[in-house]
């Protein structure tokens, strides 16, 4: 109780820091108790229902105890492909509880979680904030034994990954897996040079240079960055904000993890450049909770940049440009990668998207004009300033200038990040990553496209396959329809629940898919599946529901034969239950043998 009060005071009873308060309470007590909810509500002058609403929105917060040590085992498709089931069993046996439960002694909690950005080193888990990668059943048992013996999760990290993962402030077993260094992100960069260049120009000139470079948003949506900055700059307001979206949650993407680990200065300078362009003095890095192991390290980089006058007051030799950056952390919600949901979350609320218009460039963080840009976009913008638009447009294709950092994972010899020029074909990627046997490639994550062999000639660029960078490769033995089902589960679990089509529609799509996969579908079911998918895409409020039927719709298009093989051709109607099974319990209670035909149309 006293601790809760201290935490609330530390955050100055500020409702916009509600997430920070809840995070600290959760970390200290393993849950947010009814007493803590009451205390937070009282001090922040909110209703208890309001506070509970925020706690229950985020995956890593809980009203009930989660255990002294909490294991969040990644539940992504790639994790399953790399042996997650055996690892999960080992955790359960050693902990003495099932996933979703806390062990009887209260020491170990086991919970599944959506993709944590470690697709290149699965199975992976987050234990008390510490990341464990390339897990095996033996390693899982060792972790539980170590925790039971009172060791900290950090103590159990035996070897660190490469690069800055070895830094004293990170000490993570995460590997960067940088497979291909391109000229933009991994090109030479002198710290401070981008900001110095920016302040030597007029803000309008900075925006013009980015426009001339044709830089399009790297998060997946591909909105022109220069135009976004221009809109934001032209809004009259007391303050403007730059928000860096470091909440990459699309299953299969992990490139921002690598950028933040190895190139944080480039990102922070990109934010300062954006700040100068739009007239902002404050920037916020919204870091997904799964990457909070990078927090102390990123804070130290910010501190160093302040020392070098790249951040702070009158920076980089300018007469009057002040700019500083604060890091805010998420708490486990895919939807917070959507820019307006991210802003809501950064303001300490439930991460529910806003209605647009107004767009964040006019009404954003704390209702001020805000430019929200992806990590990679900002890093790229910094390099554009240093090297000029012409240097940038010489790379890639005419309509997709520059390079893209791809996260490649799944059935391939060399999973990891690849910085490639736009215009490469999917087949080129498969050759690079070592996947000659690929049967299917998921480009852009579940919300993107599932390609079959004929699609491997398509190109990675904004006019063909526009992507945030997630590329998941499936080998010849993978069950594509099972993967589609897993992807739909993901969207069902990550829908914020605000609008009808996304909240209910994804559940109904998954049920229909199951009916077909279970061999109980007919031709009408396939038609329904397609129509309902279009319905959810058309009527949903934000990008989540507008893309969530894609796993079904793109496989209906590219792998239709798999569906056709599952349905009962020529049947007028197939019920989604088996009559015999359905009456089995009743019959055995009455000591009778069910006597009926298996399905109604036989």
């Amino acid at each position: 109780m006293e601790h809760d009060k201290e935490i609330i005071l530390k955050h100055r009873k500020d409702p916009s820091r509600l997430l920070d308060i809840i995070r600290d309470v959760q970390a200290r007590s393993g849950r947010v108790s009814a007493e803590a909810v009451a205390e937070i509500a009282r001090q922040l002058k909110l209703s208890e229902a309001d506070v509970r609403g925020v706690v229950t929105f985020y995956h890593f917060f809980s009203l009930s105890p989660r255990g002294a040590a909490v294991v969040y085992l990644n539940d992504a498709v790639t994790a399953r492909m790399k042996g997650r089931a055996a690892v999960a069993r080992a955790f359960e046996e050693e902990a003495g509880c099932r996933f979703g439960e806390v062990s009887p002694d209260g020491l170990i909690g086991l919970f599944p979680t959506s993709c944590i950005g470690m697709n290149d080193q699965e199975p992976s888990a987050i234990v008390n904030g510490v990341v464990f990668t390339s897990l095996t059943p033996d390693k899982a048992r060792d972790i539980v034994r170590g925790l039971r013996a009172g060791r900290s999760a950090q103590d159990l990290v035996t070897a660190c990954g490469d690069g800055a993962n070895q830094s004293d402030l990170v000490r993570a077993m995460v590997s960067n897996n940088i497979r291909r260094r391109g000229p933009v992100l991994f090109g030479a960069f002198e710290s401070g040079s981008a900001v110095r260049k920016a302040v030597s120009m007029k803000p309008e000139q900075v925006i013009d240079e980015v426009k001339k470079a044709g830089l399009l948003g790297r998060g997946g949506a591909g909105f022109p960055t220069g135009l976004k900055w221009d809109f934001c700059r032209k809004e009259k307001a007391d303050r403007h904000y730059v928000v860096c979206n470091a909440d990459e949650g699309e299953p299969g993407t992990f490139k921002d993890r690598v950028i933040l680990t190895e190139l944080p200065r480039l990102v922070f300078e990109g934010m300062a450049v954006a700040g100068y362009a739009v007239g902002a003095r404050e920037g916020i890095l919204y870091l997904r909770a799964e990457y909070s192991y990078l927090m102390p390290y990123l804070e130290s980089v910010l501190e160093a940049l302040r020392g070098e006058r790249v951040l702070g007051k009158k920076i980089a030799g300018s007469a009057d440009f002040d700019f500083d950056i604060a890091i805010k952390s998420g708490a486990g919600a895919y939807i917070c990668g959507e820019e307006s949901a991210l802003i809501e979350s950064a303001e300490g609320k439930r991460g529910e998207p806003r209605d647009r218009p107004p767009f964040p460039v006019s009404v954003g963080y704390l209702n001020q004009p805000t430019t929200v840009n992806n990590v990679e976009t900002l890093a790229t913008a910094a390099q554009i300033l240093v090297h000029g638009a012409a240097w940038f447009t010489a790379m890639g294709t005419p309509k997709s200038a520059g390079t893209k950092l791809l996260s490649i994972s799944g059935d391939c010899a060399s999973p990891g990040v690849y910085e490639v020029e736009y215009g490469l074909t999917v087949q080129d990627l498969l050759n690079m990553a070592g996947a000659p046997q690929a049967k299917a490639v998921q480009v852009g994550g579940p919300s993107g496209t599932c390609l079959a062999k004929p699609g491997f000639q398509r190109k990675i660029c904004f006019s063909d396959l526009s992507t945030g960078g997630s590329v998941i490769i499936f080998g010849p033995d993978r069950d594509i329809l099972e993967i589609v089902g897993d992807f739909m589960d993901f969207f069902v679990e990550e829908s914020c629940g605000w609008c009808t089509p996304c909240r209910a529609g994804n559940v109904l799509l998954k049920k229909k898919l199951e009916k077909i996969v279970n061999g109980r579908g007919d031709e009408q079911d396939l038609k329904d599946l397609e129509a309902w998918g279009k319905l959810v895409k058309t009527m949903s409020r934000c990008g989540l529901g507008q893309t969530s039927p894609n796993p079904i719709l793109t496989t209906l298009q590219n792998f239709r034969e798999l569906y056709e093989a599952k349905i009962r051709k020529g049947a007028d109607f197939v019920p989604d239950f088996d009559l015999k099974d359905a009456i089995q319990d009743g019959c055995s209670a009455a000591h009778r043998q069910p006597e009926c035909k298996e399905s109604l149309h036989d």
């Binding site: 909110l46 208890e48 229902a49 439930r350 069902v492 829908s495 009808t500 209910a504 559940v507 058309t538």
Partner: protein
Amino acid sequence: MTEIHFTIDGKECHAKPGQTIAEAAKANGVYIPVLCHYEGLKPVGSCRICTVRVAGRFMAACTQPVAEGMAVENTAPDLEDMRKALIEMLFVEGNHMCPTCEKSGNCELQALAYRYRIMVPRFPYLFPVRKMDASSPRIMLDRNRCIQCLRCVRAVRARDGRKIFAAEGRTRRVAIDADRDLAAKLGEDEARRAMDICPVGAILKKETGFAVPIGKRKFDKKPIGSDIEEGTAR
């Protein structure tokens, strides 16, 4: 202020700057079905039933401001069918029991189902297990009938501005939660208003029931939206 000219299904309409498509349509005697929207509250676009099409793009009429020259499609058959599907979704994702519901005849979901001539939903029923909360002295919260319109969240506040109702959880499990202490302090009139503002029977006032008999209620007389179409809406 300059007037905005736009059309709905070809009909010439006028709007004031800042008006949403739904507001302007109503003012022009055109009915666009709404459910989560409630006049005077900030629109949230949660039910999506007011979705219209403008230049091939779909948008919620309750949140989208009218712009000069807009050609709004409101009654295209494909659009109307998708709206109908959303109403059906709301029926199957909850547990609705019209024949015994105190709101029957005054329920906007039920009225929309009649207007859209829904006989049986195209979707399978999901039969969710949802908790009821009757702990408050004046109101009963039955989440079985809740459609997450967030009207109560927006409209019902304590005197100091704190929210009495809030959304809890997310995904299909999102549920309206009442603040126990604040809900206990609701007065007679406030409880009545909470029930009236709820489009369905999720918030019911205790102690009185069926004061107006079924058959003599608002939508028993005329379909929802007729007042707008007849120009008799307030």
